[in-house]
């Protein structure tokens, strides 16, 4: 059992609870999961590993799938708005707390219902298609220290970096001025797997060659 998950104590208890349980109630996702999910409002800090795992799992369901879950919501927020209402129409009201773009006006319920039906129908249609892996094309500028840096060796070093979801592409040297060239190198990355920040750090670790790394272009594929 666990208390109000918006408190650190409640979150800790939830973490302990989820160490032995896949879901809040029973062996399938239900409205109970949704109510706790909505009460949390955002992914928990990484040290609550079990909650984090469960949160990601619940977050992976589409609104339409969530709407189809059965079960009874668990009242969670002490003093807040009743979570039961949130669970009843999840996609329409998925926690005001992290909603950057909340609307001030109450939406017309009928319009909202029609919207939900359309989304659900579309989600059902879409679920039959294979999911595409989101990828980006990134063009990096890798800058040396001076005009004597061995650019070939620099490139060889950069290309030794391997990451799951990272594919190195073409490259060329681009003149900067005063005899200095920068290495411009393409890579294709899977959005969910590769952190550009981490990649830049890894390249900058070749500190004998690399002064800095900048992004010249960043596009969806």
């Amino acid at each position: 059992a666990f208390g109000d998950v918006t408190t650190p104590q409640g979150l800790k208890e939830l973490n302990a609870f989820l160490a032995d349980n896949s879901y809040i109630s029973g062996y399938t996702p239900s409205k109970a999961d949704l109510s706790v999910f909505d009460a949390l409002g955002k992914a928990p800090s990484a040290d609550n590993v079990n909650v984090a795992r469960w949160y990601r799992h619940i977050a992976s369901f589409e609104a339409a799938e969530r709407a189809a879950w059965s079960g009874t919501p668990l009242p969670q927020l002490a003093g807040g708005k009743p979570t039961v209402a949130a669970a009843a129409k999840p996609a329409a009201d998925d926690d005001d707390d992290v909603d950057l773009f909340g609307s001030d006006d109450e939406e017309d319920e009928e319009a909202e219902r029609i919207k939900q039906e359309r989304v659900a129908a579309y989600a059902a249609k879409k679920s039959k298609k294979p999911a595409l892996i989101a990828k980006s094309s990134v063009l990096l500028d890798v800058k040396p220290w001076d005009d004597e840096t061995d650019m070939k060796e620099m490139e060889n070093n950069v290309r030794t970096i391997e990451m799951d979801g990272l594919l190195w592409g073409a490259s060329k040297l681009v003149p900067v001025g005063y005899g200095i060239n920068k290495l411009q190198i393409m890579c294709v990355i899977e959005d969910d797997k590769v952190s550009i920040d981490l990649l830049q750090e890894k390249i900058e670790e070749f500190e004998d060659f690399v002064q800095s790394v900048d992004i010249a272009a960043f596009n969806k594929i």
């Binding site: 950057l100 919207k115 989304v119 005009d147």
Partner: protein, 463 residues
């Protein structure tokens, strides 16, 4: 050769299923963004495979496959031409790190193009509250992209196809949606299109006779037209900030044998010329610029957008570093900031942010930890009105006015004066947890810096 066209940058935002890549691809394909031989090769293949009637789809698929292999650098930068402009187009990826790139990246967009799909349910799913589209649109507006075009895409797959009622329904929804972000719908062109079939892309479509064209009202002059390309041509060109004071954030500093110290960076505002006596903030080092080069060619003048190297005398590489800002010592020179006030929007911080929080800020090329010294007030993002004084903490979704104190010398500016030096990303745990725009800077007194002999001589010589 006529007069050279103005260069503009566009960012395309929208849900992954909105067809924005197809639309982007269509523009590039039809407007000379892909070299002729490549297109001819793919079109020939399409013929041979018996896909002649799907030629366009075939070429786009081929190009996508080529992009996935990453073997052609030229197609990493997507460019095309309209009647009026050279356009660089960014197809915004869903990648989390893209947000930081929007802030510190090389090309600030002059206009955002929002693509929504007209298909039943598709539109509704695309602009749902947890969608990235809202985040991108909000960021674009916050970061100063004040022009917007909306493409209502996939009109061919509305029910019934090319339905006026559906278009009007979506236009109404999107208008209220972008109004909440801050855009004025009356100044936004709405165009019903099919990026796939080409309706209203370059030529008015015969499938939508009910569409009488788009219209925008704005104080710089109204405009109207029929197609998406017309709408792009109606974008107000960026004011080239050459008349502003010089600001050039350093990316790198090189030591070149026989030449000396060469800082490199992009001119954001103003003009840099050989002979300019520059000051490097926040270190307050003053010296003369001997020469300026771009792509190994000497320049007599570098203007905003130019990525240049310049040679300075009597300053060693050790005295300069990335994040410093060069400016003209005689015309509103840059200075270090003691502290600054910014409007911060928390995007996805896992916890609460309270006074004392000290994350790393990425602002132009600087990367420096800054303390949230005082969270002064929570504000309504749209109206800017105070909703809570001295909040104990702020969290995801909140906007707040915050006083920040850099942990090390840092040069920033008010967004109003120098936009590229006045917006920042707040980084924590390799994530962009917040973004900010600087309202005011409390500058440090610029005293006690080094003035090189070259600078003294240059200054005297001009007296």
């Amino acid at each position: 050769m006529g007069k050279e066209k103005i260069h503009i940058n566009i960012v395309v935002i929208g849900h992954v299923d909105s067809g924005k890549s197809t639309t982007t691809g269509h523009l590039i394909y039809k407007c000379g963004g892909i070299d002729k031989r490549t297109i001819e090769k793919f079109e020939k293949e399409a013929q041979e495979m018996g896909k002649g009637s799907f030629k366009y789809a075939w070429v786009l698929d081929k190009l996508k496959a080529e992009r996935e292999r990453g073997i052609t650098i030229d197609i990493a930068l997507w460019k095309f031409e309209t009647a009026k402009y050279y356009v660089t187009i960014i197809d915004a990826p869903g990648h989390r790190d893209f947000i930081k790139n929007m802030i510190t990246g090389t090309s600030q967009a002059d206009c955002a193009v929002l693509i929504v799909a007209a298909g039943t349910g598709e539109f509704e799913a695309g602009i749902s509250k947890n969608g990235q589209t809202r985040e991108h649109a909000l960021l674009a507006f916050t970061l100063g992209v004040k022009q917007l075009i909306v493409g209502v895409n996939k009109m061919d797959s509305s029910e019934p196809p090319y339905s006026e009622a559906r278009y009007e329904e979506i236009k109404k929804e999107v208008s209220s949606y972008i109004k909440k972000i801050g855009y004025n719908p009356a100044a936004v062109a709405f165009v019903p299109i099919s990026g796939w079939h080409g309706d209203n892309m370059l030529e008015p479509s015969t499938n939508m006779p009910w569409f009488k064209g788009w219209k925008v009202e704005r104080k710089e002059g109204n405009a109207d037209g029929k197609t998406l390309i017309d709408a792009l041509d109606a974008i107000l060109p960026p004011a080239r900030p050459t008349d502003k004071a010089l600001r050039l954030p350093l990316q790198d500093v090189y030591k070149i044998g026989g030449i000396g110290t060469v800082p490199v960076g992009r001119v954001e505002t103003g003009v840099l010329k050989p002979g300019t006596v520059v000051v490097f903030a926040p270190a307050n080092i003053t010296t003369e610029v001997k020469s300026v080069e771009m792509h190994h060619e000497a320049l007599q003048e570098a203007v905003p957008g130019d990525n240049v190297g310049f040679n300075v005398k009597n300053v060693s590489v050790k005295e300069l570093r990335r994040g410093y800002v060069a400016g003209d010592s005689k015309a509103n020179p840059p200075k270090g900031a003691a502290d600054f006030t910014a409007q911060v929007i928390v995007l996805n911080h896992p916890g609460q942010i309270a006074n004392g929080y000290t994350p790393v800020l990425d602002c132009h090329t600087a990367h420096i930890a800054c303390k949230f010294a005082e969270i002064k007030e929570k504000v309504d993002r749209r109206s800017g009105k105070t909703t809570e004084e001295n909040p104990k903490f702020i969290k995801s979704g909140d906007a707040a006015i915050v006083n920040l104190v850099p942990s090390k010398p840092l040069c920033v500016e008010a967004f109003q004066e120098f936009p590229p030096l006045g917006r920042f990303a707040v980084r924590d745990m390799r994530q962009t947890v917040a973004v900010g725009v600087i309202k005011a800077v409390n500058f440090k007194d610029a005293s006690g810096g080094k003035v090189t002999k070259a600078a003294e001589k240059a200054t005297k010589g001009k007296k």
